[in-house]
């Protein structure tokens, strides 16, 4: 039995993304670009088409990755809203202390007018 953990689809996708990124960097590098200048028109055309395909695959994989994270974040939204509302309620509870004391103040002002001679 192997101790190594199994490769997940996510691992494969990340590996592929890294591979495509490296391929694009190589295609953009001086060595390849200089070689391309000496290449035939057909070779240059093929290289440009391949580069486009690699580029789109890389971008699409990044979108897939971001889409997954977005979905996970959205799944947490209801709970995040609840957490925000509870913080606001706790703060409102503290404000009620001041509101209560102010109410008592008002009542005392009335009492003061009643018990104090004009």
């Amino acid at each position: 039995m192997s101790d190594e953990s199994p490769v997940t689809p996510n691992d494969l996708r990340n590996g592929l993304r890294r591979g495509l990124k490296t391929a694009l960097a190589d295609l953009d590098g001086d060595a390849f670009q200089d070689a391309l200048e000496q290449a035939t028109a057909a070779e240059r055309k093929a290289a440009a088409i391949t580069r486009g395909e690699v580029y789109r695959a890389w971008r699409q994989l990044n979108n897939v990755q971001l889409d997954e994270i977005r979905n996970q974040l959205q799944a947490l939204e209801a709970e995040l809203l609840r957490a925000t509302q509870e913080l606001a309620s706790a703060r409102a509870g503290l404000d009620q202390v001041a509101a209560y004391l102010d109410t008592v103040n008002c009542l005392l002002a009335v009492v003061k007018r009643v018990v104090s001679p004009a």
């Binding site: 990124k21 694009l24 960097a25 953009d28 670009q33 240059r44 055309k45 093929a46 440009a48 088409i49 580069r51 486009g52 580029y55 789109r56 971008r59 699409q60 990044n62 979108n63 990755q65 971001l66 889409d67 994270i69 977005r70 996970q72 974040l73 959205q74 947490l76 939204e77 709970e79 995040l80 809203l81 957490a83 925000t84 509302q85 509870e86 913080l87 606001a88 706790a90 703060r91 509870g93 503290l94 404000d95 202390v97 001041a98 509101a99 004391l101 102010d102 008592v104 103040n105 005392l108 002002a109 009492v111 003061k112 018990v115 104090s116």
Partner: protein
Amino acid sequence: MNRSSERRVLCGLNLVVVALGVALLSGCGAARATRFEAFAAAGVSYGQARGQFLRLSLDVNIERDTLELRKQHESLDGAGRARVLNEQDQILQDRISILADLERHGALMTQYFQALARLAGPQADAHAAAAAQRLSGDLGGLSDALARKSIRGTPVSEKIGQVTAIAVGELRNRALERHLREYAPLIQRHLALEEAVLGVLVDEYIEDRKVLRNHERRTVLLPPFRADSLPPDWDALRKRYLLAEIDVTRARAAQEAARQLRSAFEGLAGGEREGSLAGLQLAIDRVNQFIGPGAK
């Protein structure tokens, strides 16, 4: 109010002063609330910087995408050009939709940090203290004896204000601890995902910028240098090109800010009572510097 009632009130107040004074002397609650407040304020700043970075990353995505289309244009026939344009438009439209959702989600996160800052801040204590002081002033108006009383040399009205602020502060600290017990795993998960988002976007941003810069180097800098005579502005072009490299690497600040935010929250959730959040604030300042006018 007769003298025996006044005595009971003063005696009760003294007990409250002693009990809450002990709580205050521990000093921990207040310091912890201050950390919560600083963390929440940093979270709000992070949200603003993150929003700007998202928009900047889309700008650079589109520039790179357009360059890639240009590079293919010559090599494709009409039908191929239409197909490639449709495919790349679709990829960018998907990206715009994802970023719009992430921005909307960022707004929810900012609301959370704002609510946390409001609860952790000292305003509620101050309002309650002021109200309590007004109340004791009115009590003093009802009774000259009470107005003349003091507790350890401090007038009753002032003491009531202090005690009320402490009591409200304690309520606030308990609310914060209760919140952490219930929601720390949610917020930690959230901040870890946030870090992952920034990881993908920053990596992509750096790659896009590298390709755009390399294109500039090969089309603007290299051809005149290969020629026999250099144009007079070539030196300035080269300097601008090389210095722009600094901005590309500065993009990592956005990812670092997300990491620091998660790490600061883990510290708070783990009961950390000391240490500063300077690292987090510094990281956010770096993002703000990066997304400033010199970013592109």
